[in-house]
């Protein structure tokens, strides 16, 4: 139980008023000693007083905004806590062919936006958080089940991006976001990027430790542009095999070496992205116990109904009121 406008409760002492006065008429009677104690009258008087208290208290409780506070119930369903780690570097503004988007081809970020929107709308019981990364990691939205604001954040990803791709610190921020929300749900990070970068050795250690501490599934959706190196590409014997030359291959190897549930998807077209997102959706479909928030429920109506019942009793008594003198008059006439 809670009150939304508790100031009104200051009026509550007024509910004691019916104990000192009542709405029936008081009449003089020459000799009260003459009257016998009448059980029925005593009960009726008590009833009227209780009705008066209920009517006043009910109205005050209603005005104070009596409500049942928001609560959480546990349900089983299919869902996860997902952090979307989204690349906001300026290369995402190009098409999969590595060109400026024209009327016929959409940019990678526009494709990602469309497909992620669709994904989020379909996932009923999931909670989402968003981390953006480019030159610096950016906390965009904490883990939430409010879909509209998540979609508002997704809507902003096809705006012009920044210069670099600092995937390591972005990952760390996504991990910390997950670890701040210890829930029973299955937890996942979806990394959406069109490139990778070298992760420094110290940061690698840190990431390894964080991934080992938390049970988190990792998906990497690599939006590969035409001509760029793939994540599964094996270098020719005369080529150098270093993270600087093949950052995608080495990031993939790093993820595989983490010994966590990890899947990589390489997508070279919007259709392939949609396919990959569907795959992720299928994988993140373990039955989980998820918390469903029940919003605050307004109970002021019921307070008014109680008040109305009290008022009805008072009104009935008032309507049935008769004067002693009118009886006396009638008796005289008879």
């Amino acid at each position: 139980m809670m009150f939304n406008h508790p100031v009104w409760l200051l009026l509550l002492p007024l509910a004691l008023l019916p104990l000192f006065a009542d709405t029936q008429r008081t009449e003089g009677h020459p000799a009260l000693l003459d009257l016998e104690y009448d059980l029925l009258s005593a009960i009726l008087q008590l009833l009227l007083r209780v009705a008066g208290v209920l009517a006043i208290a009910g109205l005050i409780f209603g005005l104070a905004g009596l409500a049942r506070p928001e609560y959480v119930i546990e349900r089983t369903g299919q869902g996860s806590d997902i952090v979307l780690l989204i690349d906001r570097s300026s290369s995402m503004d190009n098409t999969f062919a590595g060109q400026q988007p024209d009327g016929t081809q959409e940019s990678k970020s526009a494709a990602a936006k469309r497909i992620l929107r669709n994904f989020i709308e379909r996932r009923e019981h999931d909670r989402f958080g968003i981390v953006g990364f480019s030159t610096a990691p950016m906390h965009v939205m904490p883990m939430t089940d409010h879909k509209d604001i998540i979609l508002a954040a997704i809507d902003s990803i096809d705006r012009p991006g920044l210069a670099f791709t600092d995937v390591g610190r972005g990952l760390l921020m996504a991990l910390l976001m997950q670890s701040r929300n210890p829930t029973g749900a299955s937890r996942a990070i979806i990394l959406v990027s069109d490139g990778a970068a070298v992760i420094g050795r110290r940061l690698q250690e840190r990431l390894r430790a964080e991934f080992a501490r938390h049970q988190i599934n990792l998906y990497w959706l690599y939006l590969r542009s035409a001509g760029s190196k793939g994540m599964f590409e094996v270098p020719a014997s005369n080529e150098e095999d270093t993270p600087q030359v093949l950052p995608e291959r080495h990031l993939n190897k790093f993820f595989e070496g983490l010994k966590i549930p990890y899947r990589a998807f390489e997508a070279e077209s919007p259709e392939a992205v949609a396919h990959a997102v569907n795959e992720i959706g299928k994988l993140e479909q373990k039955p989980v116990i998820y918390a469903e928030r029940r919003p605050q429920h307004d109970l002021s109506r019921y307070a008014y109904i109680v008040a109305l019942l009290g008022l009805a009793v008072l009104l009935a008594a008032k309507a049935a009121e008769r004067s002693i003198s009118s009886y006396a008059g009638r008796a005289n006439a008879a």
Binding site: D22, T26, G28, L59, G62, A136, A307, S323, S326
Partner: protein, 327 residues
Amino acid sequence: MINFLYRFDPRFVLLVVAAIAATVAATGLRYTARRSIVDATIVVDLTGSMNARDAGVAGKPVSRIEAVRAAVRDLAQSLPCRSRLGLGIFTERRSFLLFEPADICANFDAFDGAISDLDWRMAWEGDSYIAKGLYSAIDVAASAKSDLIFFSDGHEAPPIPASGIPDFEGVPGKVNGLIVGVGGSGKSPIPKFDDDGRETGVISAADVPHDNRHGLPGKSVESAAGWHPRNAPFGAQAVAGEEHLTSVRSEHLRTLASKTGLSYLELNAGRNLRDAVLRSGTLRMADVPENAAPWFAIAALASLLAAYGISVSALRRASQKLSTLVR
């Protein structure tokens, strides 16, 4: 007949009124009210000088970013429902949108979480070209079809060149909104952080440039020590200045506001941000459903209390009469 007159007691009328009003209240009647709402993109300056701890009330200094977080949270709570707020950040010379305007009442938790995560660590560069950042924020707000609320301390780093503030290429007044100046009026030091985000002291005079040597030198520079038109067009001496200390540059922000057709407000205790936002923004109206029940409940309560009030005064009159009789 007597009986009817007898029943026609004001208390009877009051009880009938109370019962009718309570019935209406119990049905949960709703009406729609037209309310002015806000649709705005908030852009927060996250450059180094915003870490200076000179905002807040005297004796309890908080950093400027913290003051902005508190102000935005208050604003979000006080705006009428159906208002929408988006969030962006500004560093270097660009504003970067984190999320587009979304309904503030329905998403308050998430919005609040996003606000409390605003941090200088999200800034990707140390420079602070406020004018350019503001112009890009105006573009962002225009593309989100919303007003702009731009929080900044107005501290340009590096300082403005001799050629003055860069020109605003947009149409002044096309995007409505507010520039909010953050920070104290006295000079205060700017904290410095190392690579791992630990505070390592304050920025000293030697850490920052005190004049801007981009573009053409100004007219008065010829009198500077060691000036030479070819070899030292800005003078040969390093300029000493107080750019390592910061205060809210209201003059600069006011100039920017008049250039771009925005309003200006200094964020201080007692200034009402909500009213300023509603006043400076584009007037938008929305039909908001309002609960009518409280009004009817008040009417019911008033009539019921009046009915009891009559009884109390009648009782007092009767007892007075009785006491005179006894006497």
